[in-house]
Symmetry: C2
Subunit: 475 residues, 2 copies
Amino acid sequence: MTSADTPIPLFGVILAGGSGTRFWPLSRSQYPKQVLRLLGSNSLLQATIGRLRPRIPPERLAVVTAASQADIIRLDLHRLGEANIRLWLEPEGKNTAPAVALAAALMGEAAGAEIMAVFPADHYIQDTAAFHKALDQGAELAREGFLVTFGITPTRPDTGYGYLKAGDPLAAGGLRALAFIEKPDLARAHAFLTEGGYYWNSGIFLFRRDVLLEGLARHLPALYEGIQKISAGLAPEALAGIYQGFPSISLDHGLMEKADNVALVPVEMGWSDVGTWSALHDLCSADGRGNVILGRVLDLGNRDSLVFSQDRLVATIGLQEMVVVDTADATLVCPRSRVQEVRDLVAELTRQDQVESREHLTVERPWGRYTVMEGGPGYKVKKVVVDPGRRLSLQLHHRRAEHWVVVQGEALVTIGGDVRKVLPNQSVYVPVETPHRLENPGPEPLALIEVQTGDYLEEDDIVRLDDDFWRKVKK
Amino acid sequence: MTSADTPIPLFGVILAGGSGTRFWPLSRSQYPKQVLRLLGSNSLLQATIGRLRPRIPPERLAVVTAASQADIIRLDLHRLGEANIRLWLEPEGKNTAPAVALAAALMGEAAGAEIMAVFPADHYIQDTAAFHKALDQGAELAREGFLVTFGITPTRPDTGYGYLKAGDPLAAGGLRALAFIEKPDLARAHAFLTEGGYYWNSGIFLFRRDVLLEGLARHLPALYEGIQKISAGLAPEALAGIYQGFPSISLDHGLMEKADNVALVPVEMGWSDVGTWSALHDLCSADGRGNVILGRVLDLGNRDSLVFSQDRLVATIGLQEMVVVDTADATLVCPRSRVQEVRDLVAELTRQDQVESREHLTVERPWGRYTVMEGGPGYKVKKVVVDPGRRLSLQLHHRRAEHWVVVQGEALVTIGGDVRKVLPNQSVYVPVETPHRLENPGPEPLALIEVQTGDYLEEDDIVRLDDDFWRKVKK
């Protein structure tokens, strides 16, 4: 087999454990960057999967994420209609080295591919053909026994990226990687560009599983020993115990920097890590005055600004190099030069335990979505939208009753032993402790207004008795 | 009678017809600047009335506004608990000269006060004692036959105000006014300050009714002739016909600039016309970094900025001399130096007929308020809050049905011939064409969620059969 004919089979590992706090208020801890549709109609994770498909089919693909993000990642895969992609859960996020090691343990020998290819879930690549070509080249190098990384040919003295210093060309193609360099200051970044031979560190890696394990054994022995105890059937509590002992370290720092068999595939592919609102601005096509304006925005004389509104009205006058991002419950206003500090802002919101750090008013579900419209002592109002043909779980609540008024579509409602159709302008009442189910049997979306009343109105007061999806059901 | 003993009785005319578009998004055409609570717990109009009370009792006070703003002004007076203040409605807004002339016509001879005192509804005066002293002095001058205006001693070269040039002192006190000067450029404003003898034009006037009418007859004859036909009992259509012929002109331009009997009372009273968000910033006490921060705002490193949030979360990083104002449905972001352009922005929203130019999601009513929470084809969801002891009109709708779910307090509900109590977690249904009434008989606010369904869901589908307030009832 040569690369010119059939590509070397790869096993793809997509690292989707990031929180992407720098995209707040669009990202939330329960709705992280990788599931945002920042560039087009697919989420960044979905786009990553789509980009790999010509080289790595879903059945040779695994997504690794933190257990706390399992629901939203599973939903993102579900929406893509991909049932064959494995989802591997870390008990806690511990940077990339443990995630990659976990993947190496779980893929075992069964994956049918000797070479692991590791990808961040939340980057952007414009030139897919160049990306595929680099993948093929990287696979060749990996087969030779190298730890391979992609080096992006820099186009500007960016101080937001790490850099790779390249050495001599290798016989098998690519270049020897000499050093990993942390984010430089501007002067140094300029020097890299002038001097040449420096590349942006893309966070994409290829290696044979056995070469990886050898490297871990040598440079991250605690991690290596830990994963010997990990197999697919391991109980989550046992996995959590093992994970506690893992160092929180990136694969770059923990392994790649220290190893002497690192190769670099130089590639120009229109890559960005989409790291900040300002980076996103750069990726979007701006108008003649340098503005990227999305949503219901009125702009009088802005320049070089990003203004995004999800659905409210945002009016701006004479902004210069500013970012304004508006969601249903929160608004960010910030100069482009300070977008890195959005992370500090989210840290503060998290410290204050503000709900806007955790979730949106509209929450996606496998059957559709709900929006919290209003709440007060003893009540909460939601709009519930059920996609055609879907139904919620058969469920009951211990501490709340629900009034439903159908406003669009057609509902099939089960309340206790009673099953009936409920049409627009009709209402039903679901008493406390009563098993009930909501289904949309029709061809159009079903929308209803739900008024909950009770002394406890959180999402965790739900006992599922039957479910069409992956959620836990009480036996 | 001398001014040292009993003040000369005044008849106060408060001009409350402004739209105050520069305070958007807090102001709307149906919720204008004068009813905003920008400085304290009273609206600017309420504060103006309160400031006058020691000199002008409610029964000698009239508020003039445009008919289109009657409801909200009436409500603002109602909330103040003032039933004795006259409300005079202009068929259309035509600047201050017609409004003052209308007041002169309607007050007739019956007012029991020979001197009219005219006040903008939406200004701020810090030093009430100085204001009262100037009123007394102005009344003396007015009694002597002068057209009197208040000249504010300037404290900075403000280019946002008109100026008055003062001449020699008058025997009766005050100064002769020599000229009215439009908003100057900065150089000229500086010169005024250096030279001395210039004052800010406050828009406050005092004159005998007969002296005003004489001046109108001479300088604004069309207006003078028109108001001869106006009396209290005139039909609104007839008034509208007369108004059509009136010039749209300010009292300054139309009369004061041309008359030769104008006097000026110089006064230092901490006055501001509260003309823009930036002027409001100047009136509020700023923190050590020059920021005025109100509401749920997270601020990382702002300077000299005004950030106001009604109730959503607004997060700002490193703003410098910016204004951010957030309401439930719209957000404004603008440098302080460009706040004048908010007017242009509202003009554009009005041209586009955007609802955010007209009203807020929460609409005040004499019985309480409602908030539009959500709407879509064939339905609308509101939260309705009824103040203790209040009730809505007995009403019916031709084209919508309503589902009510009580979430707080206690409702007394009339539907057709049926009257019943409805408690939290109980619901009722109001069919189309059915007379119904909602009352809060209890001591705490009543809150309910209303889901309207029907093919037409605007506010004007309401037939009132009985009402506790001033709204039109079908006989």
